[in-house]
Amino acid sequence: MVFRAYDPLELLGPMNAVEAKNAPKSLWAAGDVALLEAGSRVSVVGSRNVSPQGVKRTAKLVRALVERNMIVVSGLAQGVDTIAHTTAIEAGGQTIAVLGTPLDTASPTQNRDLQTLIMREHLAISQFEIGTPVQRHNFPARNRTMALFSDATVIVEASAKSGTEHQAWEALRLGRMLFVLKSVADAGHDWVAKVIHYGAQVLTDKNLDVVLENMPERVRAEELPF
């Protein structure tokens, strides 16, 4: 497996000041970096201890994203992340894993095969150099990086104290679209109510199509048609 180091600008293109603030100084990638030019990238994130309903909701959303040729981004953690990646692959779509570990380390270890598959046929990205110890604070940093790589973030299940919260706030800070499923909004967690106050939209069966039609895309300067 080839792990290559990148300057973030090589993978993300020019950044505005808000984007540059929390951007990692270096990135390592394994897989097909051309995926970063392939369409809208939507993070699907949520609880590690996902409920049966959360599994169904995650799979349904991911299939809808793949049908529209969107790239499914997640963090390769247990629960929602794992369902998001595997459903995208099974549906014939493309997926990007943004890791909280160096590329040669799997966390959780039971996702090692999935990580290898993603590095071989899709794309895995890490801001942690090989040899960096895996520490708790890696994961909030990873979530902020995932927000940076994503045109939109959807939270499909969350708890009162959830690492997903870091990604939610970062998505809002970056001015990216942030969605919470109605079931998440109805759960009544304080931080979810706050992110809705600051601009997160509630995603329902009713508005799903409109939302997906309005997912933003990235454009290179030379493609601006005016």
Binding site: N16, L172, R173, P225, F226
Partner: protein, 209 residues
């Protein structure tokens, strides 16, 4: 409560995009014209400022040196340090000698639903309940204001914001993009000056063009 009750507000826009158009140009107008401004893309901002300069005859008076640019808040409150596309637009315009100053005097105090995800037009009252004008006036306070937004849809946000200013102020609006809900566009570059008109019966606004 609004300080004045205009029946219409003059506005200008540089670009147009089609919400439901099916031609290649219309489809691209969403992904390659609308989306870069929503994410604060610097290349798009610089190019827009250049195009405004090239079309200044259309926008006569809008970007004079005694005009204060006023960024229009997003549909939700903004935390300090978060991306605010309208402020980025104002800063880019000022950097190109368009306008004379920036007044960050409009504040969104509570969230409203995004126009793109709302089935019908949002009422002016909805905006007035969530927008505040926070400006301490003195002898140096500008009296000519240009409300600056990334996108104008029905114009209800701009209309509500304009109505918060004093009657004696000159208040116009500029959006980099205007949307058309149906129909096709031939080119995204379409500098226009028009009007946002108040519809009292429904408390909504209509935009021409």
């Amino acid at each position: 409560m609004p300080k004045n009750s205009p029946s219409e507000v003059e506005f200008a826009s540089l670009l147009v995009y089609s919400v439901r158009g099916v031609s290649d140009v219309s489809k691209r107008s969403k992904s390659r014209v609308r989306d870069p401004f929503k994410r604060g893309d610097n290349a798009a901002l610089q190019l827009a400022a250049k195009r405004i300069q090239e079309n200044l005859s259309v926008f006569a008076g809008y970007f004079d040196s005694d005009v204060a640019l006023v960024p229009v808040p997003r549909s939700s409150p903004i935390r300090q340090g978060n991306l605010w596309p309208s402020l980025l637009i104002c800063e880019t315009l000022l950097g190109h000698g368009l306008g004379g100053s920036i007044e960050q005097c409009l504040v969104r105090t509570k969230e409203t639903s995004k126009a793109a995800f709302t089935s019908g037009p949002r009422t002016v009252a909805t905006h007035l309940e969530s927008l505040e004008l926070q400006m301490k006036r003195d002898l140096t306070t500008p009296t000519r204001f240009l409300l600056v937004d990334d996108i104008v849809t029905s114009g209800s946000t701009l209309f509500a914001a304009a109505s918060l200013f004093d009657e004696s102020d000159e208040v116009r609006a500029f959006a980099v993009l205007r949307s058309i809900s149906d129909g096709e566009i031939e080119s995204p570059l379409e500098p226009v000056v028009g009007r946002i008109q108040y519809r009292g019966i429904t408390d909504t606004t209509g935009r021409r063009p």
